[in-house]
Every structure is written in C-alpha cells, then in structure tokens.
C-alpha cells in the first residue's frame, strides 16, 4: 500500500451571500481514521466536493497524494469516495452500476464481483438499485469507493440510514482499512458516531477548523473535567472548597460539581473540614461534551439547518 495523504489548505468559497468555506485547512494522514465533524452547514460536504474536484474553491487548494484531483490518472484508483449513496440510476442493477465505474478505470468485472462480496451484497447484486434500502445503498456506495483499491477513502455521512448492525460493520471496516495504511476521512454531524473509531478528529464550524487533534488530546484538553460530590452539607462543603481553589456549582439538592481540583484534593479538603460525604466521583468529559463546547458558538447553524448550505 502506497501511503498517501489529503492536504487541504486555505480553502475559501462563497455561495452568494453565504461564506461556505473560510480558510479550511487540515491534513488527513495515512494509517488513521480521521473524523470530520461539525454541525450541518459547517462546510464538510463542500470541502469533500473540493477535494474530489467537483467544486472549485475561490482560494486555496486540496491535494491528494500531492496532486490535484483533476490530475489523477484513473482517480478511483487513488481516491475512493462515498458522497451520496442515493446517486443511482434506479433501473440499473447494482452490479452494472459498479461495472461502468470499473470500466472507466480500466478495471474488469472480476474486481466488481470482489467488492460486491466485500460489502455483502452478492445476493442482491443483480437487482435494480431503485429497490435498495438506504442501508443497502450505503453498502453499494462503499463497494464503489473500494473499486480501485485506493490508498485514500473519503466517506460523507456513511452512517445515515444504517441499522445498528450496519453501523458496527462500517466502523470495523473503516478501522481495518486504516490499519492497512490507508488514509480514511469520515464526516459526520454526530460526534458519537466517531467515538471509538476515529484516531484524529477535525472539528469544523462556519467553514473553518475549530479543532484538529487526536482523540486523546481532545479529551485531555477538555475543560469540563469535574468531580461530583454528594454530601448532606452542601453549603459547608462549598465554603470549605472555594478558598482551596475549587469552583463549585450546585447541580442538585445535596450534589455539587467541583472543578479546578482533582478528586483526591476534594477528599483532603473535606476531611480537614470534617464534612461528611457519600460519594466523590471523577466525571470524564466525553467527546460529545468537547464537541458541544467547541461548536457551542455555532448555534446559528444548528438551529433550523436542513443539512445543506443554501446555494
């Protein structure tokens, strides 16, 4: 496997009044699953279309393995993409859909049958694609992306419409692709879909990158780590903890959220002040919390967005 990267640098694109991309810059490394996450309308799909040479940016460029997409010879052998699983001619069979794509890359029908088997569509391959469920169409889209055995894969919202079993299958499948050394970019508007799968997460909003870090870094950076404290004397506990550097918030009757100090320090302070407690728990931030923190300012996009930038 020849390792290749996706380099996106300084993409800017305007659709009428809407600034869809505003200096989008990131790199997708080989051997890793990179999550591409952000609210609907954050510029994920536009970025992917620019990488695939479908849209032309006003500024900046996107390179795959150092080349502009338009300059790739038989591009599906370099980049496999699933952009819109519904983009099918309904009266054409799944196998024939893959066959024309294969022929355009000088690949033959044996490769078509291989990828059909890879995604588990062998029994339905000679049926018209119009009769496929959304989940089957996603599998067909993944088969199409795998046709050219590409070192780079780009999947836009691959989990949409998939049943839980399918989601698990896609996660394992993408992980195995990354382990083979491929660069895998997976976009989603739900951080939870990427947890336990992505190595790296690029969080975007309003057409630019808000965070680009490994999952561990993101979790560590999270400021929402806090200690949950259950005590019969919440007022006294707050008085004792605050001078010691803790930031205390009342979350419930008899429950305090303490941030700014670890659980051990909380226990020490409470013991010194002879305040009783029934529970002290460290609350780990989830990727979801980090995401909400990062994109909190992007509410404008989240409210009433139908998932597409107005064009």
């Amino acid at each position: 496997m020849i390792e290749q990267t996706i380099e996106v640098s300084g993409l800017r694109k305007r659709f009428g009044q809407t600034l869809a991309l505003d200096g989008m810059t990131f790199t997708v490394a080989p051997g890793r699953v990179t999550g591409f996450v952000g609210p609907n309308g954050a510029g994920k799909s536009t970025t992917i279309r620019v990488i695939l040479g479908l849209d032309t940016p006003d500024e900046g460029r996107a390179l795959v393995g150092g080349n502009a997409y338009q300059n790739l010879f038989h591009p599906l052998r370099h980049v496999g993409a699933l952009v819109d699983a519904g983009a099918l001619q309904p009266s054409r069979t799944a196998r024939n859909h893959l066959l024309w794509m294969a022929r355009s890359q000088d690949l033959d029908h044996r490769r078509v049958d291989e990828v059909i088997e890879l995604v588990g569509l062998t029994s339905a391959a000679r049926r018209k694609a119009g009769g496929y469920s959304l989940g089957m169409r996603q599998r067909l889209g993944i088969a199409a992306a795998m046709l050219g055995d590409p070192p780079v894969l780009i999947l836009d919202e691959p989990f949409n419409g998939m049943d839980p079993e399918g989601i698990i299958w896609v996660r394992h499948f993408l992980r195995s692709l990354a382990e083979q050394g491929r660069a895998v970019l997976v976009s989603s508007h739900l951080m939870s879909e990427l947890q336990d799968m992505a190595d790296q997460v690029v969080v975007v909003g309003r057409g630019r990158v808000l965070a680009d870090a490994s999952v561990d870094e993101l979790l560590a950076r999270a400021s929402s780590d806090h200690v949950l404290l259950r005590t019969p004397e919440p007022a006294e506990a707050a008085i004792a903890l605050e001078p010691a550097g803790g930031e205390v918030a009342v979350t419930d009757r008899g429950t305090l959220a303490v941030s700014g100090m670890g659980a051990q320090r909380v226990v020490e302070v409470l013991n010194r002040a002879a305040i009783g407690f029934s529970e002290v728990t460290t609350q780990r931030a989830s990727l979801e919390d980090v995401y909400l923190q990062l994109t909190g300012g992007e509410a404008e996009f989240r409210a009433g967005s139908d998932g597409r930038v107005a064009r």
Partner: protein
C-alpha cells in the same frame, strides 16, 4: 540532461482516463437501462414503418402496367430516358446524320443560330404561332457522334450555344467550355469532331485553319459504325419559376466528312424524342431543309441530365423518408436528453465526474455512444427502406428519378449521420440546461422545428432555414444533382436543397462543434 524535477501540472490539465475507457463506461450506462434501448429500437421501428407507409401511399390511377422508367401523365405513359451513367436524361433534338465507319472527321461551319420562345408555359402544348423571337441561353447546335439514335445513348458533341460560347459535351452530364462568343453572320464558327479509335475530340475555329481543342473523351465500347451529323435543340427557358419551351434554328455550311464536301442531301433527318408522349416539353417538332450548300436545322428540347422533378410531380430515392426521419429523430432527442439529464436529477453526475474528471471527455463520449447506436439503427433501417421505398413507389405506377448507387449510399449514410449529429448536439444542450424537459425542448427547437417549418413553409424561408440552422444537414437527402449546363429553378419546391450535401452536413457539424465547445466550457466553469 539536467536532473530537475518535473514541475507540477497546472490544475486544469486533466490527466484523467483514456478516452476508450470513458466510451466503454458510457456504453455500459446506456445499455444497462432497458427503457433507453427500447426507446431507440422503437424509434428505428417507427422510422421504418412511417417511411414504408409514405412510399406505399401514392397510387397513380389510369396507368396500370407501366413500363419501367415511365411516368403516368394524363392517362398515358411517358418514358424518361436513362443515360449511360444510369441517370435520368432529356434527349430530344433534331439530328441530320449519316453513318461513319471507323476513324473519321466531320467538319462544319455554323453561320447562324437564332430561336423563338413560346408565349405559353411548358405544361401547355406549344405552337410556333404563339411565340416570339429569342434564343435560349442553352440553345445548342453543332456536331454530334453517337452509336445509336435511341434516347439515352452515349454521345459526344461539339456545339455553339445561345450565350455560353462553344462547348464540348458528352454522355449528358459532362460539359467543358471552349471559346466564348455568340454566333452571328459576321462571327461564324467552325466546328470539328474527330473519331480516333474510341477517342472523340471536339475542336473549334474561327477560320478553319487554326483549331482549338474544346474537349475529348474515350467512349469505351464504341462500335465501328456510328452516326455523325448536325444537330439543333433548345431547352425550356425559365423566367422565375415559370418555364417556356423554345426552338433554335442553326445554319450549317461547308459540311465535310474526312475533309471532303459531304453529300448532305442523302443524310437522314430525324426528330428524336419529341413525340406526343415525350417527357421533355418542346415548342414544336424539329425540322430541316437544304438551302444551297447550307443545311438549316431547327430543334426543340435538350440533350442533358433531366432536372424537371418538380414539374412532373415525380419521386426520388429520398422523397418518402422525411416523416420517418423526423419521428426517429424525436426519439433520439429524447434518449440523448435523458441519458445525461437523469444523471443531474439523481446526483449521479457527481459520481461520473469523480470517476472521470475530464468533463469534456464525458460529454463527447456520451454524445458518441448515443450517436453511434442511433447511427447503426438508422443505417439498418435506411439501407432497407431506401431501395424498398423506391420499389414500392415504382410498383404503384410512380416515376422515381433514378439515383446512382453512390447517391443512395450517401442518402442512407447521410440521413443516419444527421441522426447521430442530433444525438451529440442534444447531449451538449442537455449538459447546459441540465433538466430533462428543458433539454428535450431545446433539442426539438434546434432540430425538429426548423425541419418541420422548412418542409411545411417552402420558399425562401425554408431555403434560409436549410442554409443556416442545423436543418442544413437535411441536404444529405438530396437525390438530384444541380448542373451548370442546365438552366432551371433549382429550388426546394423542385427538389433541390440550397446547399450541397457536404456543405449542408458541414453546417450541421459546425453547430455540433460549437455546442460541444460551449457545453465543455460551461461544465468546467460550473460546480458539479
């Protein structure tokens, strides 16, 4: 050699795919949607049956059992002669002749050439009493050599004409120009025809001393004994669209065979092709008389390719094809439009451009695939219906202008080429407008509209449409040839397209290239 690395290619130079692979991919796309293949086959079938119906339609009453090559006019069959090349010819003239065996020469001085023009139209039986003096531009008088006086025989002739100077003509369609000038008493001309083996050469002179060769031809298979002599004829004279029969009278003097004065009194005077059922309109029957040493010959008619299709209401190899062609085209337009707009509607165009970033190649491949399939279907249908249509028309008593094999093949290939070009143009238009309804409308407006208007309107409107719009491609259906040596109103109504087949097709190809270029620019400028 330096070891500098190659600079990165500019972003707009697509390396992309081999064109063969793109074509193959688009062919798979077309053949794997059953509806499109059915529509194309349906178009071919409709094309066949409509052409068949049109050809089988007209029934000419009153002339049952017509001989081959005959046309029924007012209840009696009229035979249109066929020349050595298989073409329809006019062969009506006055001939004063004798037999010449082996090699030899005939010489004569032509001292006057005058004529009269009928005051009645060509479709009325003419008479000398209703005529006025005047010489038709292509009135002909001179020396002629032919193996037989049967109409449509091979011949070679050197002649004086009304205004086109001395000409050398042979076998109806061939014409070469000699010295200019008209015949008057002060400017007579000498003419000479020399047979040497199979070669016949024509000469002209002002003084019988220095001779100019006007033309020569090898007529293979010429018998030893041929007829040589003096002839005169005069074709229908056209004023606008109306033709008036004419008659020309020529005076010949110093007539010699092999340089010895000829005993013309013993020559046979013969009026060829001006009988009651002769097809070519004549003013009067030809005549001749001796006047001292001179012979005066009067003749009406023409020795030339026949061009009177419009006058006679006859048919051609392509006259029953138009309706079928229009319906076939409509289906090709629909399939070509759907083939690309469906991809836009389904978002599949993005998959296509991801697989093949060179959008121009996709466009050309799509157009070619639909075009070639439509072309093949059309060639199959046309190759059957063109001969079959002519057979049907003839078997129902209609006269069909003979067309050479080359012309028929050109009609078959040309009509199919027109269909193929339409597919490519509509593909380009569809890529620009992207929506099926708009694409079909645009394709219909570009092709069917001018075709239908041109065939319905006629006149100068139609001629301009057939010059300037994609309908110019219809010129490939031209079954008749325009001849410089025959004055005629070569109008659409008479069966002549304003452009030659190749020029018309070139106009269509021009539109195709412009549409492809515009669509390619637009495809690259727009986001997919």
């Amino acid at each position: 050699m330096s070891l500098t690395s190659t600079p990165p290619r500019p972003a707009r130079t697509p390396a992309s795919n081999r064109f063969r692979s793109v074509l193959w991919a688009e062919w798979i796309k077309l053949r794997t949607v059953r509806g499109w293949i059915i529509a194309l086959v349906l178009g071919a079938t409709a094309m066949f049956f409509l052409c068949y119906e049109v050809a089988a339609g007209p029934e000419t009453g009153g002339c049952s059992g017509l001989p081959a090559g005959a046309v029924c006019t007012t209840g009696s069959p009229t035979v249109i002669p066929t020349g050595p090349g298989g073409e329809a010819v006019a062969d009506s003239y006055q001939f004063v002749h004798r037999t010449l065996t082996g090699d030899g020469t005939i010489t004569a001085e032509i001292t006057s050439l005058t004529g009269v023009i009928s005051t009645n139209r060509a479709n009325v039986q003419g008479s000398l009493s209703s005529s006025h003096p005047g010489l038709a531009a292509w009135a002909k008088a001179g020396l002629l050599l032919t193996p037989s006086t049967r109409q449509g025989s091979a011949y070679a002739a050197v002649m004086a004409t009304g205004i086109h100077g001395i000409r050398y003509q042979y076998d109806y369609t061939h014409d070469s120009a000699g010295p200019k000038g008209t015949i008057t008493t002060s400017t007579p001309r000498w003419l000479r025809l020399v047979r040497s083996g199979d070669t016949i050469a024509g000469y002209a002179s002002t003084n019988a001393q220095s001779w100019t060769e006007v033309g020569s031809v090898r007529l293979s298979g010429l018998p030893a004994a041929v007829q040589v002599g003096l002839f005169a004829t005069s074709p229908v004279d056209f004023h606008g669209a109306t033709g008036y029969p004419t008659l020309a009278t020529a005076t010949f003097d110093h007539i010699a065979i092999n340089d010895a004065p000829a005993a013309t009194k013993s020559w046979l005077g013969q009026d060829i092709g001006t009988g009651r059922n002769a097809f070519y309109p004549t003013l009067a029957t030809g005549s001749y008389h001796h006047s001292g040493t001179s012979v005066v010959v009067s003749g009406s008619g023409d020795i030339a390719p026949a061009v009177v299709q419009g006058l006679m209401g006859t048919h051609t190899a392509s006259s029953s094809l138009l309706l079928g062609l229009i319906v076939g085209l409509l289906l090709v337009i629909v399939v070509a439009a759907m083939f690309i707009t469906t991809e836009y509607r389904r978002g599949l165009i993005r998959t296509t451009f991801t697989a093949i970033p060179a959008r121009g190649r996709v466009l050309v491949a799509k157009g070619l695939v639909v075009g070639v399939v439509a072309f093949v279907l059309s060639v199959v249908v046309m190759a059957v219906i063109v001969p079959l249509g002519q057979h049907l028309l003839r078997s129902h008593g209609n006269y069909v202008f003979p067309a050479t094999t080359f012309t028929q093949v050109r009609i078959v290939v040309g009509a199919s080429g027109l269909v193929a070009m339409a597919a490519i143009v509509v593909t380009a238009l569809s890529a620009m407008v992207r929506r099926p309804a708009a694409a079909i409308t645009a394709g219909t407006a570009a092709f069917l509209l001018p075709f239908i208007v041109a065939s319905a309107a006629g006149g100068s409107t139609a001629e301009w449409l057939l010059r300037l719009t994609p309908a110019a491609g219809l010129s490939m259906l031209q079954a008749l040839t325009q001849y410089g040596q025959v004055s005629y109103t070569y109008t659409l109504g008479n069966g002549y397209y304003p452009l030659s087949p190749l020029a018309g097709f070139a106009v269509l190809c021009g539109y195709t290239l412009v549409a492809l270029a515009a669509a390619t620019v637009l495809l690259h400028r727009r986001d997919a």
